[in-house]
């Protein structure tokens, strides 16, 4: 193999607001880096081919699939996981709405759902239920049948809009 190609690489990034330096295997998924190296087990490794959405995390302000991004590609990136979003209370109302509306049962999909919903809610306004469903369509839930998840996201959108107008 040419020397130009490495099997491990040094990366520097911020995760949940803290600077992280690490040497990673070049084929390691971002999800596995977060889970195995940093102990951040909120993002789940599930289908591992970009279909289920359980590994969704926020990178440079946008939700992405942690299983379709290699850790070396996260060099210089700003990563937020459900742990950091919880600690900073950025999605407190959303998490409370998920509980109040029974929008989770086993909870496996919930971290990904929260990151996806946060993205939609950050755009402001009150999306229609159809828009919520469309935006969340890349995140699978095998427990709730989705109705309660749409209820929770809609409730938060309405509450935030009401607060903004007051």
């Amino acid at each position: 193999m040419s020397e130009a190609f490495r099997d491990r690489i040094d990366i520097t990034l911020t995760v949940n607001g803290e600077s992280v330096e690490a040497r990673v295997p070049v084929g390691q998924h971002l999800t596995d880096f977060l889970r195995l190296e940093l102990g951040l087990t909120g993002a789940h490794a599930s289908c591992e081919h970009g279909v289920c959405g359980a590994c969704t995390v926020q990178v440079d302000g946008a939700p992405i699939r942690g299983c379709l991004m290699l850790a070396p590609q996260a060099d210089g990136a700003e990563v937020w996981t459900v742990e950091g979003l919880t600690d900073t209370a950025a999605i407190k109302d959303l998490q409370e709405a998920f509980v109040a509306k029974n929008a989770l049962q086993c909870g496996f999909c919930t971290p990904g759902m929260l990151v996806a919903a946060k993205d939609l809610l950050s755009r402001g306004g009150v999306p229609s239920r159809q828009e919520i469903r469309e935006h969340m369509s890349g995140n699978y839930c095998r427990c709730t049948g989705y109705e309660a998840i749409v209820d929770a996201v809609e409730t938060v959108a309405q509450a935030r809009a009401g607060k903004g107008a007051a």
Binding site: A4, F5, I9, E48, G53, P63, R65, L68, Q73, H135
Partner: protein, 277 residues
Amino acid sequence: MKASVGGYARASDLQHALELLSGSDGLGRVLAGGQSLIAAMNMRLSAGDLLVDISRVSELSGVSDAGDRLLIGALTRHVEIGRNPLIREYAPLLSQAVQYIAHAAIRNRGTIGGALAHADPAAEFPACILALGATLHIEGLTGRRDVAAEDFFQDVFETAIGEGEILTGISIPKTEANEAQVIEEVARRSGDYALAGLCLVKRSAGHRLALFSVGPRPLLARSAMAALDRGDLEGAAEALCDDMDPPSDTQASGAYRQHLAQVLLRRAVARIEGANA
């Protein structure tokens, strides 16, 4: 599963990327957004590749106005294609197509060049650029060449990109006054690959109709285009069956795909006529 990667190198610019590729002994694989490639590596459909990560090559990203054409860098992400004002104005087919491509999280990483180089016959962007009559720009260490969309897609996941070459961008003729562009597809769930789909462009020079998910590559429905130019919609719908020979698989039978294509053609024409009414 976990990806099997033979090695990784991050290119600083296009020249560096081409040199890395040529030094990879044929094992090199260009990594852009990774939304198809990493999935394929995870499923071990591809293993041991030496990855040339071009995602930091800033010269390959962005949309610019080049007079009567629009230049789109290969690394322009789907999310940007969907919201870019130049594309919305001058190549609205691409803006419309974005909503059908996978899901928001995928669109935040996937790139148009990656989608075209991957050449999935069920994907939207390849059919779009075929319908638009785009030109693809390809570079290698020995120079740059341009390939027409008609000559670019060759077979399932096979394109005109040669060993050691990189797709750097595409250029698209800007919409003319009164030009109409629509995309229609049928998928069972939002974000799934289409069972069948089509892109219809109506210009003063005539119609261009590209079908996807009905064969090994996106294809121009030339007989149907000729019928549309004559103003014969029913003739075009019938001619569609001569233009394609769709496969049957677990998703849909070939006959059903033909039926869907005919329905979608009528929808597309009705949308264009409705917009002009």
